[in-house]
């Protein structure tokens, strides 16, 4: 008589195991269920089409937008604004965060200040930005910059602080000087975490897009959503939101891919 296999813990045991296949089944359910629910709700006629346009209606509106209303142009200008604002943040936040995470006096000097500013709503800066920078392209970039920069500094500083002390000390006992510690240990060790921070803050930059395009814009995804609101084109609002979501999702996946390519050592385990 064969002895029965010991009971394999099920999906619902705490931190239980799950096969790759079951994982994808669940992921598909998670993604498709809301779509189907949305479609069913719209098709049932219980809710007015103005409040809740169906997926088909949104898709056809998006196609019209693409064919005759320059969706590509709107997407590109928005991608440009988000990327520029985010990149400007990164260029400044990376060295500042590295300094905060490395030197205590810099931390004392800048971290409480940054902590204070980051709670200020980026939206509220719009009038000031218009006053100081004007209403051209740079003002939109400035809003996205304000929204991401201060958070990014703190996250970069934290990434640098998380480098294990033993790594720094090991380098010190091998004779590394201050610059070598920063360049060859802290920065190298924090790199994977820093790229993750860049990925996450890119997502935040996108959430500030609509706000940024409140400032005298006449193109862009956020602007289109705002304009559609004026004409109660709910289907276009839905379309704009979903397109932003898709761009975000793709960017996120690209970052993850880059992470795997750039830091293979974080993925190899014994």
């Amino acid at each position: 008589m064969a002895t029965p296999d010991s009971a394999r813990p099920g999906f619902w045991s705490v931190r239980g195991p799950m096969s790759q296949r079951s994982y994808w089944v669940f992921a598909a359910i998670g993604l498709l269920a809301p779509l189907i629910a949305w479609w069913a709700l719209a098709a049932s006629g219980l809710v007015s089409k103005v409040f809740m346009p169906g997926p088909g209606q949104v898709l056809s509106r998006a196609l019209v937008w693409f064919n005759s209303d320059n969706l590509t142009g709107d997407a590109l200008i928005s991608i440009y604004r988000v990327t520029a604002g985010w990149a400007l943040s990164a260029v400044l936040a990376l060295p500042i965060g590295l300094m905060i995470g490395t030197f205590r006096p810099v931390q004392a000097l800048l971290e409480p200040l940054t902590d204070f500013i980051r709670y200020m709503p980026a939206v509220a800066f719009i009038p000031l930005v218009m006053l100081w920078i004007g209403i051209d392209e740079s003002s939109k970039i400035a809003i996205i910059f304000i929204g991401t920069f201060f958070q990014m500094i703190l996250m970069v500083a934290e990434d640098v602080r998380r480098v294990p002390a033993a790594q720094v000390e090991a380098a010190q006992t091998m004779g590394a000087n201050r610059r070598e510690l920063m360049e060859l240990v802290l920065l190298q060790s924090a790199k994977p975490a820093l790229l993750d921070t860049m990925r996450i803050t890119m997502g935040w930059a996108w959430t500030y897009l609509v706000v940024a395009e409140l400032v005298a814009a006449n193109s862009g995804l956020g602007y289109s959503i705002l304009k559609a609101q004026r004409f109660l084109h709910t289907d276009k609002i839905f379309g704009g939101i979903i397109i932003i979501g898709l761009i975000g999702l793709i960017t996120d996946q690209l970052f993850r891919l880059a992470h795997r390519k750039a830091f293979p050592w974080t993925y190899r385990k014994a």
């Binding site: 380098a171 091998m174 974080t266």
Partner: protein, 291 residues
């Protein structure tokens, strides 16, 4: 006073590799300050293997870190390699318990890190680079890491990781090797293998080794001298010369001499650490339960 005079007359020609005089270390400030080390005197001669044991909080790691220059100290002086210790330096290598390897570098690159530092500064002639490559190869073989040369630390077991850490520390030929519970996270079998390996390194490299551990057996098996430290305030309680031949074998751990020394040290640590009072408390409680 007596101690320093004795040292001067006795070892005038061969100064100790590490000399600690009247060392104190206080953590924190004001009323919350604690005395981590109080009035430590210790001399460690060239090619000596000294182990530091004691209950947690006795300051053994702090003492080691002060010699490494990773921790500053208060009163007293610390001299290593005939120079006062003012900060970390390549003449005093340190092996940590774990997490000290650079995970983004391969095993070989980790071992060669100190060479890379020197090369970047232009401190190397091409002949020296060649010699260093030979040394890296030798260490790779010595530590049994040949097959893992191109692996990343994440891919290695804990024991293999510590082999890399030791090889990396030995690379710049440090005169003093400081080890802070280097085998504390390893399983018992791996630890035995590492003990014999580090013995081999000690004899081959003629290093001076200061080794911190909480494992008394490890301290006796490895050390020529065992320094027992006691907490509150951190201090040297007693120093034992280990009556074993230079060449150590695992069997020696079962010899009567070894066992009686181990018993003596374990009891000394118990007495000084306050654990004895805990035991008495436990006995009292048990007595109460019986009645």
């Amino acid at each position: 006073m007596d101690v320093s005079e004795g040292v001067n007359t006795q070892v005038a020609s061969r100064a100790p590799k590490v000399s600690i005089r009247g060392l104190s270390k206080i953590f924190g400030e004001g009323p919350g300050a604690t005395v981590a080390l109080q009035n430590i005197d210790l001399d460690i001669g060239e090619h000596n293997f000294v182990t530091l044991v004691g209950a947690s909080g006795c300051g053994k790691s702090t003492l080691l870190r002060i010699v490494a220059g990773l921790e500053y100290h208060g009163a007293g002086e610390v001299i290593a390699n005939d120079k006062p210790v003012t900060g970390p330096g390549a003449d005093r290598a340190m092996v940590f318990q774990q997490y000290s390897l650079f995970p983004w570098l391969t095993v070989m690159e980790n071992i060669c890190f100190s060479r890379k530092l020197a090369a970047n500064r232009g401190e190397f002639t091409s002949a020296e680079v060649e010699a260093a490559s030979g040394r890296a190869d030798t260490l790779l073989d010595l530590m049994g890491l040949r097959a893992a040369a191109d692996a990343f630390p994440n891919q290695l077991s804990g024991g293999m990781q510590q082999r890399v850490a030791i090889a990396r520390a030995l690379m710049p030929r440090p005169q003093i090797l400081l080890m802070d519970e280097p085998f504390g996270a390893l399983d018992a079998q791996t630890r035995e293998v590492m003990h014999d390996l580090i013995q081999y390194v000690f004899h081959l490299e003629k290093s001076t080794i200061v080794f911190v551990t909480h494992d008394v057996e490890e301290a006796i098996y490895l050390g020529q001298r065992v320094v027992v430290m006691a907490p509150r305030p951190g201090r040297i309680d007693s120093i034992y010369d280990v009556p074993l031949p230079a060449q150590r074998f695992q069997d020696m751990k079962l010899s009567p001499g070894f066992i009686s020394l181990k018993r003596e040290i374990v009891e000394r640590i118990r007495e000084t650490s306050g654990m004895k009072t805990d035991l008495e408390l436990l006995e009292k409680l048990c007595g109460q339960l019986k009645t």
